[in-house]
């Protein structure tokens, strides 16, 4: 059912040339292509980071909203996103994580349920885990990742890779009309800095709330 609906959604969103041929549908080959280059570079260097623009369609105004930020990845399970304009930071490490929200002067300490949902697509990009093991190659450099309805509202995402195989675009849509597009550029790799570099500490005066 989920797959059917997701494909129906894809039919409305993707240009015809992006539709898969029968030979493209499936499994391990597509999985290696969508994650291979990034996973290999991460394994050999330890740390990857990229600048990104996150564009989301606001269904209330009908207009696009864009934020700039930086993504940092380290194996085996560390993800950090920071947004320059708001100072917002989301960090995931192991089963824990923090979400720093300067505009609210609060930091949420995330528990395993929130972390699992938040890291779904990032894990898929690094090859650590694929939702339901479902990856579809749509065309050269375009992939569809599928998930079952879980805690997060999105159950599918599209990934585009460049000629090196590194992600240049991640698109996540949900059924309420919300839509997020991450455009990545300037992938860089360096030595890993370890878990401590991913733990966010709340500035003085912030409210710290532990999520169950």
């Amino acid at each position: 059912m989920v797959v059917t609906l997701t494909w129906a959604l894809a039919a409305t969103l993707l240009p015809p040339r992006a539709w898969p041929s029968a030979a493209d549908r499936g499994g391990d080959g597509a999985r290696r292509q969508v994650t291979g280059a990034l996973a290999r570079s991460l394994r050999s260097s330890g740390r990857a980071w990229a600048s990104f623009e996150r564009e989301s369609l606001d269904p209330l105004s009908g207009s696009a909203v864009t934020f700039k930020g930086e993504l940092v990845l380290e194996l085996p399970d560390r993800v950090a996103l920071s947004f320059a304009s708001s100072g917002e930071r989301l960090s995931l490490h192991g089963d824990g994580g923090e979400w720093l929200q300067p505009e609210l002067r609060q930091m949420l300490v995330l528990g395993p349920p929130q972390v699992a949902a938040a890291r779904l697509w990032w894990d898929a990009l690094t090859g650590r885990r694929h939702p339901e093991g479902a990856v579809r190659r749509l065309s050269s450099g375009a992939f569809l990742l599928l998930s079952s309805p879980g805690q997060g509202s999105a159950d599918s995402a599209w990934v585009w890779t460049d000629r090196r195989g590194l992600p240049v675009r991640l698109e996540v849509a949900d059924e309420t009309g919300g839509r997020q597009v991450f455009r990545f550029r300037d992938w860089r790799f360096s030595r890993a800095r370890g878990r401590e570099a991913f733990v966010v500490h709340a500035p003085p005066g912030y409210r710290v709330i532990e999520m169950p």
Binding site: L5, G62, E103, T176
Partner: protein, 286 residues
């Protein structure tokens, strides 16, 4: 005239100065400077207090300006204290208002949207995307005991309280506030108007139900229109308090239908109001 020295009352000044340590001297100097600066500073004059007629006129003029805008789109920060839900984190939200009786509130979460609620007239729709749970009620009056929920939301968010002329005539002064009381069907309303003609608080009470109080302690100007920048809602039973910091306001003449309407996806599970309330109480776990 004799050469005798004038009589000194109390210990002479020089020995007292000599006893001052550098720290005490600095304090004394600071006190003296403060005193002099205070004496020289221009005296602040309180704005003239408007009498009842002038305050009413100022209130109506400002209300007309807000009403004339028709539609509003705003970014909010929300803090909710809800007894049955425990310690809730603050949240960011988007609000759309459509005069005279429609609103939509979309509370953001880490995954996109935590809660999306819209109301128009007597109908209300709510959706929890992360749980795929929704509620759509055509008559909130029958189901929730909330008459004209869309109008109530519009009024509360935009401070759109408009007492009839007869109520203004019977308005009373309570300290510095001009308090107006009136009735609308089963509701009794109170509005306190402060100096400058701005609403300070409004209370709506309903027979058999807890009253709702909306306070407007801070205002700001957006696009030339003065609008509440801080709104506090409180249910009289004490169960629920909501503080809204308005971060940005944009005016639109006519917000279109999609902007003001939550649509429940086909596969959303439709709940009763009480079941949705139970789901909302678990919202911080999402």
């Amino acid at each position: 005239m004799s050469g005798a020295s004038p009589r000194v009352l109390g210990p002479p000044l020089r020995p007292r100065l000599a006893r001052l340590t550098p720290g005490r001297a600095a304090l004394a100097l600071a006190a003296l400077v403060s005193l002099l600066l205070g004496a020289c500073a221009p005296h602040l004059l309180a704005p003239p207090r408007l009498d009842g007629v002038a305050r009413r006129a100022a209130y109506r003029a400002a209300l007309s300006t807000r009403e004339a805008r028709g539609g509003v789109e705003a970014d909010l920060a929300l803090w909710i204290q809800w007894v049955s839900a425990g310690d809730l984190p603050g949240a960011q939200a988007r609000l759309v208002l459509g005069a005279p009786d429609a609103f939509r509130l979309r509370i953001e979460s880490m995954f996109g949207t935590a809660l999306d609620v819209s109301a128009r007239g007597d109908s209300i729709t709510a959706y929890l995307p992360s749980r795929r749970l929704g509620m759509a009620i055509d008559s909130a009056r029958d189901s929730l005991g909330l008459r004209e929920v869309g109008r109530l939301g519009y009024r509360a968010w935009s401070a759109d309280w408009d007492p009839p002329d007869s109520a203004w005539s019977a308005a009373v002064w309570e300290d510095t506030l001009l308090v107006v009381r009136w009735a609308e069907e089963d509701d009794s309303l109170q509005l306190a108007v402060g100096s400058g003609g701005r609403p300070v608080w409004a209370v709506l009470a309903r027979d058999g139900g807890p009253g709702i109080r909306a306070s407007y302690p801070e205002w700001a100007v957006w696009e030339g229109v003065r609008w509440p920048s801080l709104i506090e809602f409180e249910v009289a039973s004490g169960d629920l308090e909501v503080t809204c910091r308005i971060r940005r306001v944009r005016f639109r003449e006519h917000p279109d239908g999609p902007a003001l309407a939550v649509r429940l996806p086909a596969r959303a599970e439709r709940l009763t109001p009480s079941a949705l309330k139970r789901a909302l109480e678990k919202l911080p776990r999402l």
